[in-house]
């Protein structure tokens, strides 16, 4: 496991949330490995993956945390919202109930994260056209009412998956470039500062702000 400096200019942490079974893990593997696994396993706790994309000639690295959807795991997964620059809230367009949970997920994210987090609403499984229970305009309406970005994807046929991640990363990039990062002394990051930005891990992030008295 040699330390490889895989050359990137910016590093952003993103979380995937949404009800159990909406396809978070497959959306992630479609994006990071271009794979879709029919025999995928339940995510327990959190899973991690990274990918690098180009935005305006800059290499942006995404550290993505895929979280378990079940209520009881909230204690573990919540810690990962903190310090995340962006979040994708997923629902399954063929299951109304997963769309109805979106509001709860949004509330949860807002309560546990920095305010300027970029949030995108993602209607997944758009390939299941015959079983659709949530219309595209319903998703759109919810997103615009809450100031979220919106997209419909299919991890199965790969449609819009890269677009979804590219869009959110671009938006984060634009937002972060417009103002100083993380509220600390750091200005807009460059390659040198990537090391600092890496400390978007909830633990360090927090300890830096609070300066613990131990």
């Amino acid at each position: 496991m040699a330390r490889i400096d895989d050359g990137y200019d910016y590093l952003y942490k993103i979380v995937l949330v949404g009800d159990s079974g909406v396809g978070k893990s497959n959306l992630l593997t479609r994006f990071t490995k271009n794979e879709f696994n029919y025999d995928s396993r339940t995510t327990i706790g959190v899973e991690f993956a990274t990918s690098i994309i180009k935005v305006e000639e800059k290499a942006i690295k995404a550290q993505i945390w895929d979280t378990a959807g079940q209520e009881r795991y909230r204690a573990i997964t919540k810690a990962y919202y903190r310090g995340a620059f962006g979040a994708l809230i997923l629902y399954d367009i063929s299951k109304k109930a997963t769309f109805e949970s979106v509001e709860r997920w949004l509330k949860e994210l807002k309560e546990n994260s920095d305010n300027d987090m970029v949030i995108m609403l993602v209607g997944n499984k758009s390939d299941l056209t015959n079983q659709r229970q949530v219309r595209t305009d319903e998703g759109k309406a919810f997103a615009s009412a809450h100031g979220l970005n919106f997209i419909e994807t299919s991890a199965l046929d790969a449609s819009n998956v890269n677009e979804a991640f590219t869009e959110i990363l671009t938006e984060i990039y634009n937002q972060k470039r417009a103002k100083p990062v993380v509220g600390d002394k750091e200005q807009a990051p460059d390659v040198e500062k990537v090391q600092n930005i890496r400390i978007t891990d909830p633990a360090k992030e927090h300890s830096k702000k609070k300066s613990c008295s131990c």
């Binding site: 496991m1 040699a2 330390r3 159990s20 079974g21 879709f36 029919y38 025999d39 995928s40 396993r41 339940t42 995510t43 327990i44 706790g45 959190v46 899973e47 991690f48 993956a49 990274t50 550290q63 945390w65 378990a68 079940q70 009881r72 795991y73 204690a75 573990i76 919540k78 810690a79 990962y80 903190r82 109930a97 390939d127 299941l128 015959n130 199965l156 046929d157 890496r198 400390i199 891990d201 909830p202 633990a203 360090k204 992030e205 927090h206 300890s207 609070k210 613990c212 008295s213 131990c214």
Partner: protein, 725 residues
């Protein structure tokens, strides 16, 4: 298809995946399926189309129309026959085979075969049908169908599950006994052998109870007319041995007096080529019935007759079956004979690219162990093989009244030592219930009551979402399969949620439940073990609201990790890898998620005997300790990925060497015994300066602290170590 470049086959595979939902929909929709079929079949004729399209990379339509043709009641026999033979050609290609399976092709083949009158008659009176009774088309269909089945079951565990569930084995047995189908007899026999060898606990009984199967097996093993080659006989003997390792199936085999055929086969083997058969047959007859194999003298007698070198013995299966007499050599020792048998077995398995090979290897290795043990037991234990002695001992331990084995054995030192060698896989479904003291429940109606109680819609939905995502690589739980395992898993999880509403259902429970199901003879057994485990090992608390016991275990691992493998923990802390990105998964799935079954089962063997969850803690520490060299040069991402699944990949030397792993894990055995920390710790979160100092019961609270403050418990420690002042 085989000439297609790798990229191309990926493309076609993807296409197959992409459209499989559509394809299912098509097949469900009769009208549409038939329409496609009629147009295409009648327009150009299947055979023609098939050969043409085989050259093309996109054969999705091909597959669908073949399947649809079989399904079409109006298609003529001639068309069906052609469709089947086209299918047979197609599935020679493994990618095609997989895609065909997705379309439920075994079911279609069985259904088609049932349409032929030969397959409708009673299997009790086989061998009487005359060729005249079958039209040429019917014979054509029968032969192609059987060939398809043989090919499918040989290559795919999914196909085997399908065949069992579709009751297709019965059809194969008919074909095997049918004089008119002499052309495909070998295909049918080899299918029977394959099904026997690969029958898990779930299907063993079904296989032997399928009408005609025993007759075929007996016929081939006896081979009175000298008509079968060694390879087939060896496979059949293997099949019997595997089946004999299952209690209920063994009873049926004994009723059929199969041990006599085995013994005869072993005795009649008179040269080195047949040596392997002989050795296996004797082992198998031992597995069937200890009395038949009076002692190992019999085996040595067999080996006396033949084989000039042990390497020759190993090669038996690889070489041609043309038999030549080789000079004799001194008798092999009993162990050597067995080793050779085992090695041949392993070689065979290595050639098989199927999933779950390791599990099978274990299972196959095990019936031999059982046989060894039985032999050892009958000889008064003089056979110097610790495995054998252990197996015999397990048998005697569990043969008494159903009582708590752990308690019965006093301090259990002996039992613990036994468990560390691993409980033979074929005995697990008997030993585990004993260890969990739930054997007496198997006759009770606890399970039925729990099943009938029912659970809320919400829990049902949560369970349904997970069952197809639990051990999907295991054929019992493969969603595209016959779904028996899935139905049982769903039933047991629902029953448990009803039985213990305060626990209900939490993700992770399905993994444990599946583990028990793989090692149980019946659904109710799995439930009883699952419920007993949750109670006795405090695992209810792992899954109940707030996951308290999970945090406790994770914190114990963290604490001991800092003490025992400080370099690793410092590195993890220094890179900012969150511990809860991997430790909870290990605990909540009982070390089944990333750990190969061979290792996971052994961890569980030890833990069930010890009676507490220390073994989980030890196993986690072992992963950390064994990872040290690798993670030292890694960054946060690499280390996170390493602990999430990297370490579990093949050839990392962590989990693919169970012996080493368990040895390392057990080094932490004493350390793991701590329940509370009595002394004031001297560093990190445990130091006097820390706000939480003085907290005795560390686990849960420290973890809550971590979540409240977002700080890792030992980040200070790591900092201090980095900057020695």
């Amino acid at each position: 298809m085989t000439s297609v470049s790798p990229n191309m086959s990926i493309v076609s595979l993807e296409l197959g995946h992409k459209t499989s939902r559509d394809a299912e929909a098509d097949l469900l929709d009769d009208g549409r399926g038939d329409g496609v079929c009629k147009e295409q079949v009648q327009a150009e004729g299947m055979e023609n189309r098939a050969s043409k399209n085989l050259e093309q990379k996109n054969s999705v339509m091909e597959r669908k129309s073949l399947a649809a043709c079989l399904k079409n009641e109006q298609a003529s026999n001639e068309e069906k026959g052609m469709a089947l033979s086209a299918m047979h050609k197609m599935i020679m290609d493994e990618d095609e085979l997989d895609a065909m399976l997705e379309l439920g092709v075994i079911g279609q083949v069985c259904q088609t075969l049932r349409g032929i009158h030969v397959f409708q008659k009673q299997v009790d009176k086989p061998g009487n049908a005359l060729v005249d009774e079958l039209t040429k088309e019917e014979l054509n269909i029968s032969c192609s169908g059987i060939r398809c089945i043989a090919l499918l079951v040989n290559k795919s565990s999914k196909a085997r599950t399908h065949l069992m569930e579709d009751k297709g084995l019965e059809l194969v047995a008919i074909a095997a006994l049918e004089k008119s189908m002499v052309d495909v007899r070998v295909d049918a026999y080899s299918t029977l052998a394959t099904m026997g060898i690969w029958s898990g606990p779930r299907y063993a009984l079904k296989v032997v109870e399928t009408p005609g199967v025993m007759k075929c097996m007996d016929y081939i093993i006896r081979d009175e007319n000298n008509e079968f080659d060694n390879m087939l006989k060896v496979s059949m003997v293997d099949a019997v041995s595997v089946l004999a390792s299952r209690n209920r199936a063994r009873k049926v085999l004994l009723d059929y007096e199969m041990e006599h055929s085995m013994r005869d086969a072993a005795r009649s083997a008179s040269n080195s080529r047949a040596f392997n058969l002989a050795a296996k047959a004797s082992v198998a007859s031992g597995a069937l019935d200890g009395k038949t194999l009076n002692d190992l003298g019999f085996l040595v007698e067999v080996s006396d007759n033949d084989s000039d070198s042990s390497s020759d013995v190993q090669l038996v299966e690889e070489e041609d079956t043309n038999v030549t007499r080789t000079p004799s050599k001194p008798a092999l020792e009993g162990t050597e004979v067995y080793d050779n048998v085992l090695r041949t077995q392993a070689d065979m398995l290595n050639k098989d690219g199927n999933q779950g090979v390791s599990g099978r290897l274990l299972e196959l290795g095990d019936y031999l162990t059982v046989a060894r043990a039985t032999a050892a037991a009958t000889r008064g234990g003089s056979f110097s093989d610790t495995d054998a002695a252990a197996t015999a001992e397990w048998r005697s331990l569990i043969s008494g009244d159903p009582i708590n084995v752990r308690r019965k054995n006093g301090d259990g030192a002996h039992l613990k030592a036994l468990a560390r060698q691993g409980i033979p896989h074929s005995l697990r479904c008997e030993v585990w219930p004993y260890l969990l003291s739930c054997t007496d429940l198997s006759g009770s109606d606890v399970y039925e009551k729990a099943v009938s109680t029912g659970v809320s819609k919400q829990i049902q939905v949560a369970i349904d979402k997970d069952i197809t995502r639990t051990m999907p690589e295991h054929e019992l739980f493969w969603a595209g399969g016959a779904q028996v395992g899935l139905k049982s898993l769903r039933a047991v999880l629902r029953a448990y949620a009803a039985y213990h509403p305060e626990v209900g259902y939490c993700q992770g429970m399905s993994s444990l439940c599946a583990l028990f199901m793989v090692n149980a003879e019946t659904e109710a057994d799995a439930f009883h073990m699952f419920a007993a485990f949750m109670d006795q090992f405090r695992f209810k608390g792992v899954y109940s609201d707030g996951l308290p016991v999970m945090y406790e275990l994770v914190e114990k691992i963290t604490y001991l990790g800092m003490e025992k493998v400080p370099a690793v923990m410092d590195k993890i802390a220094a890179e900012g890898v969150p511990l809860d990105s991997f430790l909870p998964v290990w605990v909540m799935t009982g070390f089944t998620y990333y750990f190969p079954p061979t290792l996971a089962f052994k961890i569980w063997d030890i833990m069930l005997v010890e009676g507490n969850t220390d073994m989980f803690v030890c196993s986690a520490l072992a992963v950390l300790a064994l990872s040290e060299a690798i993670i030292m040069s890694g960054n946060m991402e690499q280390i996170t990925l390493w602990f999430q699944n990297g370490f579990a990949e093949r050839k990392t030397g962590i989990v693919d060497n169970p012996e080493l792993f368990l040895k390392v894990a057990l080094e932490f055995e004493n350390a793991a015994k701590i329940e509370e920390v009595d002394e004031e710790p001297t560093c990190g979160i445990f130091s006097k300066q820390h706000p939480l100092r003085g907290v005795r019961r560390l686990p849960r609270r420290t973890f809550e602290f971590v979540h409240r403050t977002g700080r890792r418990p030992f980040s200070k420690l790591a900092e201090r170590r980095r900057k020695p002042s």
